[in-house]
């Protein structure tokens, strides 16, 4: 990577004007967190706030980097479809995690309207569709290259 050498950032007037605004908004959020503790459950908030960062930095990012390294070994023509399919299916899988783990079932036994779907099957079908489309795209790429 080339570029100008890194310089310490210089903060303009806008930065200093907005700093107290942002600070006040954060303070307001914290006040609400503790004033309405019955609703917000600060211990649970802390678990999600810190836990989310830790899971992202210690699990998700290393996993993405490892998959990225593996994808680099694929033939170049296959890489765009594979990377796109990984981004789409990874997002679908991540967002389905609470459905697959059945979050909420334990606290509301017998509620038929909670998590009514067959989520493993739904995820398999949607992710399968994504990879089928990626396979068709990769085939087109390979054929196009050969035809040239």
């Amino acid at each position: 990577m080339t570029g100008p050498p890194a310089q310490p950032p210089r903060y303009g007037r806008l930065f200093w004007a907005l700093l107290p605004v942002g600070g006040l908004l954060m303070a307001w959020g914290l006040v609400g967190l503790f004033r309405d503790a019955a609703l917000t459950v600060p211990a649970s908030w802390l678990r999600w706030f810190l836990g989310g960062l830790l899971v992202h930095d210690l699990l998700l990012v290393p996993a993405v980097l490892a998959v990225g390294l593996a994808v680099r070994r694929l033939p170049p023509a296959l890489q765009p479809p594979v990377r796109t399919a990984l981004i789409v299916s990874g997002t679908l899988a991540l967002m389905s995690l609470p459905l697959l783990l059945g979050y909420g079932r334990a606290t509301q036994p017998g509620n038929a309207s909670l998590l009514p779907g067959d989520y493993p099957r739904s995820l398999a079908i949607t992710v399968g569709t994504v990879w089928a489309a990626a396979a068709a795209w990769a085939l087109l790429c390979l054929l196009g290259r050969r035809g040239r």
């Binding site: 019955a38 796109t84 789409v88 997002t91 679908l92 967002m95 779907g117 739904s122």
Partner: protein, 216 residues
């Protein structure tokens, strides 16, 4: 020229034929967002509900064809159908407080409206509700039309055991204390014997198991 500068930048950008260039990367992100929307939006947009295969609730799945977020037993409500002690009270700043038994409530003039339960958790589904207009009760009790109203539930647990609605909202002709949904008496998990149904009211404030209407 701007286009010339852009072309120069494109020419000097590292060539990565095996990766995704910026445009393709953004298109991949858009595809991921589109896939998530497509597989969930049907829980709020009824015509697309068959596509909502990755939504935590489906609009028409639940007792009486309507989802339930909190069951009676989750919030400590017991069935009052056999309880002669049940009363609907209209009190607070009123000229004539009312205290109605379930039979007296059922004997009143009813009205049918079609309104959705729009949950802040993301699902939304319409139903036909039949019940007594809240304005009838407020009028009979002699409440001020501008006064806000708190509708309270029998539920003893959970933060949303009541809803405050302003005067104009409370006196709207479509604001009901519903007795029936889709032509059937409300089941317990939908708020038997009475449930507040008001237009533009988030689902969590469509208070179930109503026992008191307090005029502020």
């Amino acid at each position: 020229m701007a286009s010339g500068a852009l072309r120069d930048r494109a020419a000097t950008a590292p060539a990565t034929p095996e990766g995704l260039d910026r445009r393709r990367f953004l298109l991949a992100i858009a595809a991921a967002a589109g896939a998530v929307v497509l597989t969930t939006v049907g829980s709020a947009v009824t015509p697309l509900r068959r596509l909502a295969v990755l939504a935590p609730r489906l609009p028409d799945i639940g007792p009486q064809g309507l989802p339930v977020n909190h069951q009676a037993r989750d919030v400590g409500v017991t069935d009052v159908s056999g309880d002669p002690g049940y009363r609907l009270r209209v009190d607070g700043r009123v000229a004539r407080p009312l205290e109605l038994s379930l039979g007296e409530v059922r004997a009143r003039r009813t009205r049918e409206v079609r309104l959705p339960i729009s949950c802040v958790e993301g699902w939304s589904y319409s139903a036909r509700w039949r019940g007594i207009p809240l304005r009838d009760l407020l009028e009979e009790a002699g409440a001020d039309r501008r006064a806000a109203v708190v509708v309270r539930s029998l539920q003893t647990r959970g933060p949303y055991s009541g809803a405050r609605i302003d005067g104009a909202h409370a006196w709207h002709p479509d604001t009901l204390l519903a007795l029936e949904v889709n032509g059937e008496p409300l089941q317990l998990d939908h708020g038997f014997p009475l449930r507040l149904i008001a237009p533009n009211n988030p689902g969590v404030l469509q208070t179930k198991w109503v026992t008191e209407v307090q005029v502020l």
